[in-house]
Each structure stands twice: as C-alpha cells, then as structure tokens.
Symmetry: C2
C-alpha cells in the first residue's frame, strides 16, 4: 500500500503525530527514553532511565550497579526500529476496529496473516503452506492453548513433558491451568514409564542453551508442541524450513516487541486448529485489534526492500555479542559456556557460527555449586539453573537486552574472569 | 499533557498520519468503512460494508437482508469518536514500549490506572479508593482470573453459579477451564444444597434484561464476582457508587472499543488481587502495551472539558433507541419486553428512565414457544433464551450496534408487529 503522496496538509491526525514526535525528541542522554504513556512532570513525560542510570536526563551512571542479564527482553532490536522510524510508525484513529469482529466474522486480521506467511518465506524458517494460523496474546498463551487442544479426547490423562534445561513457563503454566485432562511431569524418567498419552514441548533452538532439539519421546500417539521462538536467523542457522504439526512463534523474539504480547501458531491439523481457536475465543474473544494493526505495520516495515535487513542486523548484533562473551569466558578455567557448532544456513546460504539469545554458563569449580550466586557476588544478575529444571551449577545470561545492559555485562564479566580467586 | 504547540513541521510521523487520513477519507457511502488493515485492492483498502449493504462503495442495500441484533457490538459509540477525532488519535512509534516491563517492573501502565480512577469518579459508578486494579484481555479474561483467584485454598470444590438469565460465558468459560478447584453448576436449585463454597456471578444491571441484581446466595463464605460491564450512565441509572470486593469493568461497553480486548478489575483484598495478577502473568505476561497506550489516549479524550460528554451522548442514544423499540412492542399483544423502573441517578442528579443495552423480549402466544424462531422468520436475528440459561420464549435483541443495524431492526420490528397473524 502506498497511500502517502507527499507533504499534504494534515488535519485531525496532526496533533497525535506532533505529540509522538515531541516525546521522541526528549533527550535522555542515550541512557533512557520518554514514552507517550510515561509519568508526567512539568507537563511532559519523564525520562525512563536504563537500569544502571539515573538523574532527570539519565546522565548519571549508578556506581556499583549490577548488570542485569536476567530477562530475555529483546531490546537489542530497538535501534533497527529507530532507524526505520517513518515506515514503522502507525496512527490509530479513535474509531479504528471498534467491533468485536473483522469483516469476515473472525478475530484475526487477514492482512496480518498474509504478512506472517511472507515473513516466513523470507526467513525460510517454516513452511506455511497447508497450515492454519492462530493468534495469541504472546506465544505464552499459545503454549497453553496447544496443551488444551492436544489433550482433548485422549484415552488417559496426558503427561506434559519437557527435557531439562527447559523454559520454565511450560511447567508453571501447565501446573497453573492443570485440569483432569493433563498435568506436567517433572524430572523425566524412563520414557517407557509414561503410558500412551504424552505431550512434549520441543524448543529448538533451546532456551536456555541455544542448541537444536529433537523430541525425547517417540511413537505415533506422542504429540509435540514445537516452540520456535528462537528459530530465526537472528539466533541460529536455519538448516531447513520447519514443517511440524504445531509450531509456535513469538513477535517478541522476532521483531523485538515483547510488550505487544503477540504470537502465532502454525497448525497442520484442522481439528487441533479449531480447538486452539476455541481456546482463544473462550479466554478473551481474540487478541487486541490495536496490537494486530501495529504488528501489521511493523511487518510491512520489515518487508521494505528485500525484507532481509532485520535478519542481517539481528544476526550481526547477536553474533558480535556472543563472540565478546565467549572470548571473555574462554580466558577462564572457572567457567564454560555451551558449544554451538557452525552449520549451513539456508537463509544466509553459507555455513555460519553461533549467535544465541543466551549464554548458558557452567561454574566448573567444585566449590561453586551455586553458579548464580557466584555471578551475583560479581554484580551480574542471571537466571539460576534450577529455574530451567537444571543444576544450580548453571546460570543463564541474557544477551538480548539493550546496549547499556550488555556493555555493563561485558564490563562485570571481564572483572569476574580476571579475579585471581 | 499538552505537548502540541501548533502546526510545526513533522518528520518521521508524517507518513503514518497521512496514511491514516487517506484511509479515513475513502468514501463508503455512510454504510461502511475502510481500515488501515483492510484488504487491499487497486493499492488501497477496500470499503468494509455494514451488514446489509454491498457494492464497492457500500451504496447498495441488500434487499431482504435480516436485521442482525445478535451481538452486543457497541458501535453506537462510533460517532462520538469520529467527532473527537483529533483528541482520540494516537501515533505509536516503532520503538514504543518494546520491553516486557514498564519502568516500575510491572505489566500495567500507571498513567492508565490513574485515568481509570478519574473516569470512575466522573461517572460516580464505583469507589476506587482502597482498591487494587488488575488489567485483563477484555473483561472476559478477568472473569476467569477471578474464578481462579477466589477458588484458591477452599475447604471443598467451589460451585460457580449465576442466576438465569445470565451472560453465557460465565458457564462456557468456567466449564472450559474447569479444574479440581471449581466447576459451574447449572440450574440453580435450593440454595441450601450447595455447601459452603460458592462463587456467584452478579451482573448488575443484568445482561440480558437490564435490571439490577442482588446476590442469590448469602453467607460469609460466599464469594461474589460483580460484573459491572453495564454499570455506566449509558445503560442505567447510577443509584450509588459500587463498592464490592471484586468488580469487573469492560472497555468495550464503556468506550465502545470491543476490538481492543481490554478490561479492568477493582479488587479490595490484596491476596485476591495478587492471585488475579498471577493469573494474568502466567497466562500471557500482561495485556498488550499498544492497547494500553491507545486506551489511555481514549480515556484522555473522554476527559476533555468536564469529562461528561460521552455519558450524555451514550445515554441519549440508548434512551432514544429504547423508546423506539418499546413503543413498537407496546403496540402488540404478541410480545412484551422487560420493565425497568425509573430511578434516581447520582450522575445526572435526577430520576431517569431506562436505556438498556438489550431488549429482552418475550413471545406471549402459546404457539410461539420458540421466540428466536418467530423473530428469525421476520428477518430479525436475536439471541435465543436458552443461551442465557432461560426459556426459549425469550429472545435478546441488541440495541448497541451501529445506526444502520438499528434502523433496520426498527424497520423489521415494525413489520413484525403490524402482521395480522
């Protein structure tokens, strides 16, 4: 769509546009940002400072502040959107999509669905042909919708499983919404102990360790939920497009818009698709149309030119970060990080090295049995191994945050590794 | 906030603003609308026509088309937003709130929370002092969050109940998410049969019949979820501000933005509040920040002047519609509609008559035992009584839709009532 025809006079939209530009122009010293919905002081939104910065304009570094590498906040993608400001902005009128329904009676934007298909064909990471698409409030919600859908009409209660280390919401969410139809099983035991009804989460590449995963369980009655949040050229080589029965993708790890709470599932089977749709309908009558409109605008902006710029930007950023972190860790015998072998990538059409979202660090010394504590003493906040169903000898460090957070992580990590003891 | 200082030159926001205005200027003959995310033909979004209109510009009335009075789509509020175009538009930059978290670590916009408090104080419909606020994906999701929160740590499984006629998702949602902790009980029997653990939905004014409701169950261990979706001057007199333990409100029935999927709960008890927050966090890590920003803008727009314009507009529209419908029905002995007594309203500071969201129509003739079918034959689509746990002698007609839908309803209703047989 190319409706814009030059610097025509604006009428009702002028005020909103001017307000957005005014907020964007508030200076926060490069260490923070003002937002349209930020708290107001002296009639304008205040600077919201990055974690280790303070002062009205965020110019003050807070000495001794810990590097927060806890959450997987994907702020490393923010510079891409600032660079693409004009194409990615969207103006929502007061009367936009007030109805419960799109014109076709659904809760799903057909245009957005079309753009999701295009994005996958550019990234070469999933086969969309012959798949149905369900939208959810983040991929988070779709995980639960998939468990509900796959546990319908089974011969016995489904055992929901994930091989450690795994993303903790698989367990937290399944426990929280536990019904007579399914429950989460901790600590995978002998595969043969489980009976016929198993639903396995397969995260590939895996969170936290960035390695490809294959299912642990086999058999015609085993059902899989493939969490492909990280199956983008940003974070991994793409050996071939994925083509599984239930595949879940997240806006947050792809475009960086975690706050939008938007995700989608590609589903092969019509009945499973219908059940997942039913879940979303009953839970909340579909995902926000405002969010769908914004996601559409972002997807369109990404598809400017050959549509590959975001992947190049994201890969380069994550690869550089990984190289810095792994170089520092390699200087030490106290710590090791995961190995990720180079692999041929159909997106880049060449063998490429690792660029994972997280460093999965192991403390090798006998006395360092609580690795997160070792890092915490060195003023680095990570996520402890037990959160991922793993050993406390491990800690996960996020590499996806904003540049200030990452720079501080590198600084603290360098100090830690150079410690004599 | 008043950042806008005149017709300054715009830069990166110009394109989005111009696109929104271009789409808004597409003519659909007053019987449809083009949207930014509509399907594209000839390089621009197509007109999406109201239900009984067709043609490229929606100028063709489709003869014999049934009046759809099924859903409670709140499109009657659209003209208010078109009138307030400049104040209600919002421009979202590509980098707006990419993080999972607001600056305070929460998933909830403090500014939006503040504006919700203001709106309640203007409408005089709820006491917010001493209450915690939870956001959900529509009030729909908060109904489920409340059931989960109130059924924690009980002595026995909770019976979830609602007196018929009731809004069907209470049952559908509770059945769908049923756990060992709660289940929905159909067909209220003797109150004494229920044991101690009861969670009662109380909808006041009630959907479908618009009358005030008091709880059926009493006792210190009974827990109530007050659904106040319709407790606004739009739809009812406000005798006094509500002050219950768990009160749920919907953006959709208040501002008319059903598509935004946004609602909030006011909760008195800290522990119940914490549990509802946990539900939202585990389900999806909070509601969309894009939606929160837009809701904030709409709330700000409503608070221009004395902040009462929307209530006057909504009340007047709904009262006029009710008067038209009740006048037509009163000409017939075949049908009756609910009675809603006039009542003193603290918002208007006077006694005021009814302006409900729905007509709850009863077919009085012995042979008209399926009222929805009688209406369907007369080309009027309503919702049958059984959907509300009630008798098929009743049908619900929505009065909240757009003007075209309402006009056609009046037309078909007039024909039906003038039928000799």
């Amino acid at each position: 769509m190319q409706l814009y025809v030059g610097a025509k006079e604006l009428s009702w939209s002028q005020k909103a546009a001017a307000e957005a530009e005014a907020v964007a122009s508030i200076s926060c010293s490069g260490h923070g940002r003002a937002y349209l919905d930020g708290l107001i002081m002296d009639n304008k939104p205040v600077c919201e400072c990055h974690e280790c910065y303070g002062g009205r304009d965020c110019s003050v570094f807070l000495n001794g502040c810990a590097a927060n590498a806890g959450s997987g906040d994907p702020l490393f993608l923010e510079p891409f959107w600032i660079k693409n400001a004009a194409n990615s902005a969207v103006l929502i009128s007061g009367w936009h999509r007030m109805s419960y329904y799109f014109n076709d009676g659904s809760y799903i934007s057909q245009q957005l669905e079309n753009h999701i298909v295009k994005i996958h064909s550019i990234a070469k990471n999933a086969i969309t042909k012959g798949k149905y698409i369900v939208f959810g409030v983040g991929s988070t919600q779709l995980l639960s919708a998939a468990v509900f859908a796959l546990s319908t009409n089974l011969s016995s209660r489904a055992n929901v499983v994930a091989k450690a280390p795994f993303y903790s919401p698989y367990k937290e969410q399944t426990d929280f919404f536990e019904t007579a139809r399914f429950h989460f099983v901790d600590n995978l035991k002998n595969v043969s102990d489980y009976g016929p009804e198993v639903i396995e989460f397969v995260t590939s590449p895996n969170n936290p360790d960035g390695n490809f995963r294959k299912p642990v369980f086999e058999g015609s009655s085993v059902k899989y939920i493939y969490d492909y949040a990280y199956y983008w050229p940003h974070y991994t080589a793409i050996p071939a497009p994925a083509n599984e029965d239930v595949m879940i993708f997240a806006h947050s790890k792809f475009s960086g818009h975690a706050g939008s709470r938007f995700g989608w599932a590609l589903v092969k089977d019509k009945q499973i698709y219908d059940r997942m749709l039913t879940y979303i309908d009953i839970a909340e009558l579909g995902t926000s149309r405002d969010t769908q409109l914004r996601a559409l605008q972002l997807f369109k902006a990404m598809q400017q030119g050959d549509g590959k710029e975001i992947f190049h930007f994201a890969y380069k950023t994550m690869r550089d970060r990984w190289e810095q972190v792994s170089q520092i860790i390699s200087r030490s015998t106290r710590f090791t990080i995961q190995e990720i072998p180079p692999q041929f990538c159909t997106f880049f059409q060449k063998v490429r090295g690792p660029s994972p979202a997280f460093a999965w660090v192991k403390c090798e010394r006998k006395e360092d049995s609580n690795c997160a504590e070792v890092f915490s003493r060195a003023k680095i906040t990570g996520r402890r191994g037990s959160i991922f169903g793993s050993d406390e000898r491990y800690v996960r460090l996020s590499l996806t945050k904003g540049q200030d957070d990452f720079d501080l992580l590198i600084h603290r990590l360098t100090d830690l590794v150079s410690e004599k003891n």
